[in-house]
Amino acid sequence: MIWAKEETLSREEIERIQTERLVKLVHYVYDNVEPYRKKMDDAGIKPDDIKTLDDLKRLPFTTKQDFRDNYPFGLFAVDKSKLARIHASSGTTGKPTVVGYTKKDLETWAECVARLAVAGGAQADDVCQICFGYGMFTGALGLHKGLERVGACIIPSSTGNTEKQIMYMKDYGSTLLVATPSYALRIGEVATQLGLNPRTDLGLRTALVGSELMTEPMREEMKKLYGDKLCVTQNYGMSELMGPGISGECTELCGMHINEDHFICEIIDPETGEVLPAGEKGELVVTCLTKEALPLIRYRTRDITKIFYEPCKCGRTTARMDILDGRTDDMLKIRGVNVFPSQIEEVLLRTEEIGPHYEIIVDRKDHSDILTIKVELAPDKMTDDVAELEKIKAKLKSSLRTMLGLDAKIVLESPHTLKRFEGKAKRVTDNRKGLT
């Protein structure tokens, strides 16, 4: 099913809408947001200079630093009295990033999420268990309102207390799970430990995952746990841009459809800032066309992906972005090689002798970087035979060398000993910080 007619417009029609909205947006921010007016004046650009989509690249970028410099409301285009809701991101480094919505913004948000939820497999008769942390985080309420708009029933179970989550799921008959991919796996794992069979004892049909990277093997792992019928789709969003609602996979699983009437996505070279041609991989930059409270021009997401425009089998004509390849700031430079944790994860999840949880540690000894990966043995692969265990290590080491071009030290741990995460997983420890 396709939720909105905006998802099937012709390319000309989409671009006509985007152009019209972009021209209006540039005037809107110039008139209402001081930092934007200053940026444009500094760059010598007047609102009237922006007439086509191609002119977009002349506008300066917006970055996380702009949010910090203008904390809390400096980037808002409306008076505080017009706000209907405020959210904030976790703020692991310094002050949180504050975002605001007008009443109309909340409507747009719910509409954007509803489209992606339906594309991702949600139906009006779904019972949706939302295992995202409610509170300042945009993920939970974003999906909540979007799924409500679809007509589904919501269980706002939030995060934590995994055993209780499983009880709700079983007793209230949840058919759709909203969670991070690692927490979706964790729930299945705990259910198994409790003696349940997630395939038969739980009635999940769909998992809408987000808020952290999901690799293909992770999706496979989820299907292994909950059964092949489980439809696992992921969607993409970011608090600064709106929250969830930017793009999401349809059930054809070939990229994430972008809500193009509300967002213009560009791909740039993160080093030079140059716009890259369609199909090339680089940093995703998003312009929010319709937000009243917090309009953003060319926001640098630091997420690495590519965009393609071929029509999809599902019938939607919107451009799609690839599953994320990592973040420019997650990228580790190890002995001069660019390494994304997602690449390591892919190798680990392909290796059936070990479980899906891992930790990555980077150290520096005698001026050389050392990559250590801690993994857990799969409970059913545990053996008394040291030679067998060493063989598993050697196999992992060699697959990692093929993927990364680097040697890693593998540390085997017993099953269920590595840290589990209920929100975003923090699996990388870089002990080189502060060293030169």
Partner: protein, 140 residues
Amino acid sequence: MKQLTVFIENRIGRLEQVTEILSQNGINIVCLSLSDTGEYGMLRMIVSQPAQAVEVLGDAGFSAMLTDVTAIKLVHHFGMLNKLSKLLSDNGIDIKYMYALNSGADAAVVIKTSDDAKSEQLLLEAGQFSVLSASEVYNM
């Protein structure tokens, strides 16, 4: 006969935790061998109640399992262990690991080979070795 094997990460205090759990549950350690690979160790033990040991260690988050091994009694005399290993190697059997078991006046070893049934049979046929029964060993 069942051997209890526990995979332990090379961290201070892990062995202590294992022995504490066993002692709290009234499980006696008959003999043990601890091998180390640098990052993790394999703690192999013959204990009085192997099945219960797996359960209580598993509940405590340890990866414990049971493995079939054989306990062989041999006369405490020079050359006996050599005879035993020669007999096995002559028959193409690989000894994976072996450790001593204190059985009083005679000598005894716990042994794991590439073919336990065949080695047991060969040793019995040789007439100079006897196989200790599981209950005999568990109650030592």
